[in-house]
Symmetry: D2
């Protein structure tokens, strides 16, 4: 196997979960390894991590639950937030609508899709959808809207502005909806110069959101935040019922404690966003055209099919979509683990140096 590895390195710039944990997080896991703690998240690490997250969110009474993955967190949180007769409003391109194998429907709830532009839905669309819903005299025979699902940043690397999020909150309040934000890549939103939605804003404007670990420096894990306590009674039991409770819950506590110490979560985000920004500029300078205007750690470029084939051979980036003009939209993703030589390698390849 080693020789294979030597010849063909793993994928680069393809996504933000190809490596393990940020070294500092790994060290925290090593340091705590021999310690005995009680199970299921009732340990002191989880308590400390939750306290740090509450502080960062300026939500002193928030409930914080640590989970292992994004699809799991989405399906569990939405099932916990939705009433049985409610569905979740989401962008038609939202992760829950497309790439989670129907995990939301598996829990009995419909995903109600809204048109999206670069991954974002608009407060206007929500209002229009709800007005139309309640104007239908047979609305009691239809799935009620219950929660608005947003992702920050979106699957297209774009951001909701504080202004738009505030408008969405107003729409939610008007129609009695909750807001849930999927923060799988939240570090890369928080660290983005263009971003004006900080953790306290999310805690104020959302009913629930999660702070992504898996894609943001943790070995694995996500931190679900419910800013207002009591919203979901017996969440622990629902979590268990979903098979989502980790016996050694402290593993998650150890990681999130470290991520929220000494500014690590922000640093991880910054490095990736800056690296992505430099790569974006290099690619544009080389004449490539961005397919989406995304300011975070994911960038999307149009390339000709023959270039896409070379990228595939070199195991760099990943397929995103076919553009109507026959070009291929390729996604490049940066993370804490992106080595400086990786963007260089990509640029060289695109310039033809390696062929």
């Amino acid at each position: 196997m080693k020789s294979t590895n030597a010849k063909r390195p793993g994928p680069i710039l393809s996504t933000d979960y190809t490596a393990g944990a940020h070294p500092a997080v790994l060290r925290a896991l090593i340091a705590s390894n021999a310690e005995n703690t009680p199970g299921y998240g009732s340990d002191h690490y989880c308590a400390e991590a939750a306290a740090k997250i509450r502080r960062a969110c300026r939500a002193p009474k928030a409930e914080v639950f640590f989970l292992t993955g994004g699809t799991q967190t989405n399906a569990l949180a939405l099932d916990a937030l939705l009433k049985p007769y409610e569905g979740v409003l989401a962008a038609e391109t939202g992760h829950i609508a497309v790439h989670e194998a129907g995990a939301v429907e598996f829990t009995g709830h419909k995903v109600l899709t809204l048109p999206a532009k670069d991954g974002r839905i608009r407060a206007d669309s929500i209002v229009a959808w709800c007005e139309r819903f309640y104007a239908d005299e047979s609305y009691e025979h239809m799935v009620f809207p219950g929660v608005i699902y947003l992702s920050q940043p979106t699957e297209y690397g774009t951001l909701y502005s504080l202004e738009e999020l505030t408008r969405i909150r107003a729409a939610a309040d008007r129609f009695g909806l909750k807001i849930y934000a999927d923060g799988a890549r939240l570090a890369y939103a928080l660290a983005c110069p263009e971003n004006d939605v900080q953790l306290p804003d999310l805690a104020r404007l959302c009913d629930a959101f999660y702070i992504g670990g898996t894609k943001c420096g943790a070995l694995f894990g996500e931190a679900l935040v419910l800013p207002r306590p009591g919203l979901v009674p017996h969440f622990i039991t629902i979590e268990k019922q979903h098979g989502a409770m980790l016996a050694k819950g402290r593993l998650l506590g150890v990681q999130f404690k470290r991520l929220f110490e000494r500014d690590l979560y922000r640093q991880i985000g910054c490095y990736a966003v800056e690296t992505a920004q430099k790569l974006r500029e290099s690619l544009q300078a080389a004449g490539f055209e961005p397919a989406v205007s995304s300011p975070t750690n994911q960038i999307f470029f149009r390339v000709k099919p023959e270039i896409y084939r070379r990228l595939q051979e070199a195991n760099i980036g990943g397929f995103w979509d076919y553009a109507p003009d026959g070009t291929v939209v390729v996604r490049f993703v940066c993370s804490w683990a992106t080595r400086p030589e990786e963007p260089e390698q990509l640029c060289s390849l695109l310039k033809g140096d390696q062929t």
Copy 2:
């Protein structure tokens, strides 16, 4: 926090998931940390770990899936094995029947309970249950038996013998049932001198079983084995649908690869079983009465209420049950992480040296 820890160490002998990973497993995680691999278990570590498990099971075509926890694995595997109109036969004391918050029912299936003795059900009971079921003229209005759930070792630390398991297989074949074995603590069965059911026996006699990692030396994770390929088409998608797929699947591959290298899984089991055996002997020598005749890493003793209170104060062992005579059944659990001084500490306490 540190001072707190200094004063009050974590729980000891209370269960087998209070510490992190076995040092060798942790080293494997550290060594692979910087490597980039593709996601969702499609990496070389998972491939290598699966190959090793197939070899150990002498099941060269077995499908192996890596999951993060026991309840998750049970609910997912049973949902994948059961037809919509089927339920799972289980000991009334089985983990899925009592301690998983209805995770099986959450997927729409009934747990059909059978009387159990020390955690075990008998082939005879299965036959009797099924005969009665099919003798009922309205059986089509009832939940069909579909899968037999066993745990090896059981929740009471006891074992199914090869003879009994063979009888259960015959009962299963007679009534068209599948067998699923919950191996959360499988290392401690495999390493037990009294045990005569080895991995190839499980692979031959069960339709699915899992090799526990979380409680057997891994940081976290379980390896689900389907010895006969093709039994569950598109398992990957069902796994995703359950929110059970880890993005960095390779974390599980790295761990199970190491556990099945250089005899580690057996060694972990042996150490814990031997430590438990010594403790059992010491307690019996000290005049305590075992509540269950369990030969693996869990031992159960009857103690007077006042002794139980002292154990609680010292954070040693755990409550199991009230015995009809007013005594308390306490469980002590050993693992790879049990330090030699822990059993000594317990014996001293029971002798009153520390009071």
Copy 3:
């Protein structure tokens, strides 16, 4: 087919849903047949029927929903009453626990069984179960009790007394539980001389119950009563989601309006209970031994296997159970449709006149 029918009449005394509708109910359906009404229960018949039921229950604000069958009503009502993490406490012999093909589990909820005597559970058992549940330090990992399921009369034709029901209410209040009563055969409880639980008592002591139509004179249909309005928001939508809403909802309204006019529901019950009582006396006089002391329209007798075979041949009564002494417990059921000659036919057969 006709000749076949001539030779072999349908089953007699076997159950209370072998015939169509009570003639008066049928006439009401005929009378309303040509009328146009809006759908889904929003018609004037449903409104009038609900008003009559409210009056009979002395529950002026009760919500009343009309459904088509018992299993459907049980599964729907329990799903609507239970929180996601809750299960339903029921007699181990309860209809939902045994004969509904896992319809409750299909909606994601566990049936938590309690020991039963002649179909009844005791307030004491509920208290003991709940005390044990909340004493378990890991109760958050278990299915919470949410609703108590009772059947009145029970599957064994027995009755809850007002005293016992009041005790069960106290137990429910102590542990925050709701009470749901399955009244599939409620007419036969209400009409029973031994019964002291009337509709206003059910409305006062239960959170939900249904008034059976299918087995009590209707062509089909059940009336679910929620005495305190607002308990289940958007029940209509949950009903639709369960596929339980009848397009021509008025069919149910027409029937229940008539059942609650001119004392019909009580008369139907009285006739069946009296007929059963006479049959019971005849059988006892003939030396047969009752297996259950049931005062309603179902009676249970022990017979020798050869007599059971003759009953089978004559298509009279139905198998219930094997008694430990080798005899067969047979159930005979009376209804509004039981013709006077049917009990006579049974008695003749038992006396051997027909052989």
Copy 4:
């Protein structure tokens, strides 16, 4: 109440389930009312009705199940046909996608919507959707297509031609899909002069379909046909689990036996389609513009808002949609119960005679 009825008759031309049963069906129910039969569809009426349906479909081995309503039949049949990881492809305007309160999602399956024109999807769209699905390298993380849902006639009163249905079958075969046809209004398709898809075609080209009763002359009920036996083992148990099994199953058998005797089902369809055709012609002659070109018993016309208000006041027809030009699309529906004076009443109103 009577005076109210006298003043304000029920809705007319609003839908096809506002009246009771066709008189012939009602007579069959009356004639069989006193007969005793065994329960749950195991009676001779259901056997005879199934035999007649098999004959009409030229599908001598077809399995036929009788159910009470359309949403129930759709949710049950789709749940029985779909594997757990599969969803159902449907027109975005399909009844299951919009008006069934998420009953399909309640069973855990996603509705995968396709663009529709006048209620119909095209074979081409199915092929394109599936090609795109299988071209996505992460398709295992998405909901697989499993069944194609069609309605014949559609919710817009339009029809699939035999040619298009044959093409859809070819698309289904290419991608391993099943076809399910919702025949809630099937009588009105079968009787339509433009229709070239007869029952034997449906039986040959679909894996399952239902013959609507509720909207086509029955008091209530639908007949689900599975042309090839063995496709869904233990359907009876799944039906019970869904709460969809009628205790007095014979009520459905009696009705469908009669509907398939002496050409009744066709006659019911013919009368409604002819009545609708005459009404369509009158409205067009009066200068109104059809919104959809629908040849069956539902017709859709654009009217000005003030006319719509008069229709509302007169309780005639029903709101369908707002057209982009500000007019209102109104639906008028004919059935066996439409009296000749109803279309006249509508025409008079539109001409202003009644104002």
